[in-house]
């Protein structure tokens, strides 16, 4: 398992250190539901998710095309062994115990960058959960390169101290040049269908088409998800926070934590898009000296500073920090995981909510093997991580429901998801994905986000409807020809009875006319249908005067 190699002396670390009395591990042990381990079924998913997220992040950061091996093994009723192995950069020996055996340790906690890692408590929580439910720890094998040893560890967490306990460490033979393998036993439940590990891995393969995934289920089925693209996604750049996106509390903490010595300097170094000129403008509005020491700024002053930031015009953050899949890669991912007859992908240009750059990608699949009955299938992602829970609370659901799908040929009752053979992918890429809750399963309802989603959905909807129209048209044309083919023998027979001519000759002649005039006939048919729509189908006494009832007898 490859956690971040460069370890900053992060706030989290400090915090963890300074709050020893209330151990995070201990707290978690008592409140595991807060971190997503609220049912055996979800716990199994969380274990896979944390390990896979870490593997993919590590591979991408090291610019390695990921090869993942995932295995679930049922040990006994309600107990599973989870194995996740990658070909990532590996972890140096000294860091292994800390990365896996210490909660809130790592490089990702306060970074503003598109990474998966911001979305979970981390791999150490998986260890802890396993330890709590089975008494066993985690087994880790890691190697950083062919010239290095493969290190094998068996770890526990000391929940009081939030520190790793090494049960065993040794050098082993491993036929992998570099990479990490974790094994953990835990209480869990395996089920197929919605919100299952199977579904999660399928979605992982869809949204990470550059990854090659092999997955062995507890039922001993092996599923292969081959790589769809051979290029890694663009490397995500790390950016500093934009002033608009910072809340008062965070601003105060940043003031306390900064190494800068003046307020002006604090603003222009700790944030993006703040020039010294803008910094002094902010200070002036807040009636604070640009030379004030940041650490000395009290709460009231911080609030003034916060208000003046909001009222100062600051250009939007750079968006090159975003790393969307791009239309081509997303299309490939969708095509390899969803069997449909029509696909389209929309990547919206980057934009900003509350100072945080973000970008929306939508993919739509229609027809083919997709279920025609019931609501459309929705697959949600945030920074390439599938979101399987709380679909209804997600802003993507709002955007989908608010889009008028009837215009695009799907049926939809008001306030509900549209119905039809459609799969929708909604992917939000951002340095900071806003979730509705700590469980991090639903994207918050910022108007800017919903608007971007809707614009992309409408675009995809239009493309789908033009496809539907085209195929429906083609199908109708086929049906027309089919209809004539069925009628011809009947007509030939009737005409033969009427005239005494040979039916097969009449039939042959009629078939010739059909073949010859196919194109013209279809054109005529279309015209006829148009007139029918206009209600102008009176040509053959179809539309009687409404007096029928009072007409003559018989």
């Amino acid at each position: 398992m490859a956690e971040k190699k460069k370890v900053h002396a992060t706030k989290a670390h400090e915090m963890a250190e300074s709050h020893k009395e209330i151990s995070v591990s201990e707290f978690f042990a008592k409140n595991r539901h807060l971190l997503g381990f609220d049912s055996p079924r979800k716990a199994l998913l969380m274990a896979v998710k944390e390990a896979v997220d870490n593997s993919l992040d590590a591979c991408e950061e090291a610019r390695i095309l990921p090869d993942l091996y995932i295995e679930l093994k049922q040990i006994k009723e309600g107990r599973f062994r989870v194995v996740v192995e990658d070909n990532g950069p590996g972890i140096i020996k000294e860091q292994i115990p800390k990365i896996f055996g210490k909660l809130l340790y790592g490089g990702k906690f306060h970074r503003l960058r598109c990474s998966r890692g911001q979305q979970g408590i981390g791999i150490s929580a998986v260890l802890l959960y396993g330890q709590l439910t089975t008494g066993k720890g985690m087994y880790i094998t890691s190697r950083v390169g062919p010239k290095h040893n493969s290190n094998y560890y068996e770890l526990h967490i000391d929940t009081k101290k939030n520190d790793p306990i090494v049960d065993k460490e040794q050098v082993v033979d491993w036929n992998k040049e570099h990479g990490t393998r974790i094994e953990v036993e835990l209480e869990g439940q395996y089920q197929k269908g919605k919100q299952s590990v199977d579904e999660y891995i399928k979605e992982i393969a869809l949204i990470n088409p550059h990854a090659n995934v092999i997955y062995k289920t507890p039922l001993n089925e092996t599923m292969n998800f081959p790589r769809g693209v051979n290029e890694l996604p663009k490397e995500a750049k790390e950016i500093k926070p934009h002033p608009y996106g910072v809340e008062l509390g965070i601003l105060m903490r940043m003031l306390q934590g900064t190494d800068t010595t003046t307020l002006s300097n604090f603003l222009s170094t700790e944030f993006c898009r703040v020039s010294p000129k803008v910094a002094s403008e902010i200070c002036e509005k807040a009636k604070l000296s640009p030379r004030a020491k940041p650490k000395m700024v009290v709460r009231d002053e911080a609030e003034k500073l916060y208000d003046s930031i909001q009222s100062t015009k600051i250009i939007a953050p750079p968006t090159d920090c975003l790393s969307p899949l791009g239309e081509e890669a997303l299309l490939k991912g969708l095509k390899k995981e969803v069997d449909a007859e029509f696909y389209c992908v929309i990547t919206r240009p980057p934009t900003v909510y509350r100072g945080n750059p973000f970008q929306i990608e939508i993919a739509l699949a229609y027809g083919g093997g997709l279920e025609a009955d019931g609501a459309v299938k929705i697959m949600r992602f945030a920074n390439r991580v599938p979101l399987l829970y709380q679909q209804g609370a997600c802003s993507s659901a709002e955007a989908i429901i608010d889009t008028i799908w009837r215009n695009y040929g799907l049926s939809q009752s008001k306030g509900n998801l549209p119905q039809g053979p459609v799969a929708l992918v909604v992917h939000m890429v951002s340095v900071w994905v806003p979730f509705t809750s700590e469980a991090k399963e639903a994207i918050a309802h910022y108007p800017e986000i919903v608007k971007e989603m809707k614009l992309a959905l409408q675009d995809a909807g239009r493309k789908m409807s033009s496809y539907i129209r085209k195929t429906v048209k083609a199908r109708e044309q086929r049906e027309r020809v089919n209809l004539f083919e069925k009628y011809i023998p009947e007509l030939a027979n009737s005409l033969s009875v009427l005239t005494g001519e040979k039916p097969d000759i009449i039939e042959e002649n009629l078939n010739k006319v059909l073949k010859k005039g196919m194109k013209d006939l279809l054109a005529v048919a279309e015209k006829a249908e148009e007139t029918k729509i206009k209600g102008d189908n009176v040509a053959f006494g179809e539309k009687q005067d409404t007096l029928g009832e009072f007409e003559d007898g018989d």
Binding site: L483, L491, L495, F540, L547, F550, E551
Partner: protein, 362 residues
């Protein structure tokens, strides 16, 4: 009358044209005058409704036409083979069942309702110029007649005066009935069978030397044709007795001017000289029938407006006065309301008076 062999040949010709078109690589099609309101003309000269000169075309290789095309040809072939060539007659219902079947390889029935095959027969009438009766297709018989008349029907000689209380029931096809002896001064047609029974029981036709004909409601083609034959062949005046309402007026109108659906047959069904005996709004006043008024409904007003605007009624002052009164009274009155004056008031007083004084509406 076109002889049978020729009728069969006319249908065959219709089919041969289509066969020929297919042979020449053409989309088989046939044309005929349109039979809807937009193509109905009121001919001032003959005072009848006629078809205009709008022509419709039905072609086989056209999704909107294909099924009707097939229906029409199939109905034609069934009529030729099963009826004309074997000299048999059948009802409209029979034709429906002879044509009805599921088209192989589809879930489509060639005809789903009888109205479809009925329409085809009407279409064939205008296509071939042959009337339904000439195609050996009959409708259900409806209506009774009594009078001093002797006819010959399918070899049987029948005296209409010797058929008791029921009278002779009028078949839908009266073309081949021979009117051998007709002794009458006029024909009285009424829309109510119950009134006819009253008059028959009172021997009205004997006392006043007339022929009594009734249908129930609408006037069938058979009755209309029979009325016309009495007028054409024996110059008998025809009088019509209906309820005092807009529907009675329209029944009269159909007999006199023709109808929209059968405008192509106006020539042989309409009798421009027919007269309306009653019940009129003036009768209501004269015979104090107000207390037997039935209130008009919304639909009745709409119908009054519609009928009063028909070209053939538009300039008829007498009828316009009637329509106006109907609206003023906000009511209609039935023929049978005369019974309030006594059960035989109609046969002893009302009709003799009206006919004697020639109190008719034109």
């Amino acid at each position: 009358m076109v002889i049978k062999l020729e009728r069969s040949k006319i249908l065959k010709e219709f089919g041969l044209k289509l066969v020929e078109q297919a042979k020449r690589g053409k989309n088989p099609k046939f044309s005929f005058p349109l039979r809807n309101l937009s193509n109905i003309v009121y001919d001032q000269k003959s005072k009848t409704l006629k078809l205009g000169d709008k022509v419709g075309t039905r072609e086989f290789f056209n999704v909107a036409h294909a099924k009707k095309f097939l229906q029409t040809v199939e109905v034609a072939s069934v009529i030729k083979k099963e009826l004309l060539d074997t000299s048999k007659h059948s009802s409209l219902r029979d034709v429906f069942y002879m044509v009805k079947r599921t088209i192989p390889g589809t879930k489509v029935d060639l005809v789903e309702e009888q109205t479809e095959s009925d329409k085809c027969i009407e279409d064939l009438e205008v296509i071939t110029g042959l009337f339904r009766e000439q195609l050996n297709v009959n409708a259900d018989k409806k209506g009774s007649v009594v009078g001093n008349v002797v006819i010959e029907d399918s070899g049987d000689t029948i005296d209409w005066g010797k058929l008791g209380s029921g009278g002779w029931s009028i078949p839908s096809n009266v073309e081949e009935i021979k009117l051998k002896k007709v002794n009458a001064d006029y024909v009285l047609y009424m829309e109510k069978a119950a009134v006819w029974e009253r008059l028959n029981e009172d021997k009205y036709w004997k006392k006043h030397n007339c022929i009594l004909i009734a249908s129930q409601g609408q006037t069938t083609r058979g009755i209309r044709r029979l009325l016309q034959r009495f007028y054409d062949e024996f110059k008998l005046p025809i009088y019509v007795l209906c309820d005092g309402d807009i529907y009675g007026a329209y029944i009269y109108s159909v007999i006199k001017y023709g109808s929209i659906a059968l405008a192509h047959a106006s020539e042989r069904l309409t009798i421009p000289s027919v007269r309306y005996v009653g019940i009129t709004m003036d009768d209501v006043e004269k015979y104090q029938l107000q207390k037997h008024f039935i209130k008009l409904k919304e639909a009745d007003y709409a119908r009054i407006k519609q009928v009063s605007e028909y070209e053939w009624f538009k300039d008829n002052k007498e009828w316009q006065r009637q329509f106006k009164k109907m609206k003023e009274y906000k009511a209609k009155v039935e023929i049978q309301s005369l019974s309030s004056k006594g059960i035989s008031f109609i046969s002893e007083t009302y009709l003799p008076e009206k006919i004697k004084k020639r109190e008719f509406l034109d």
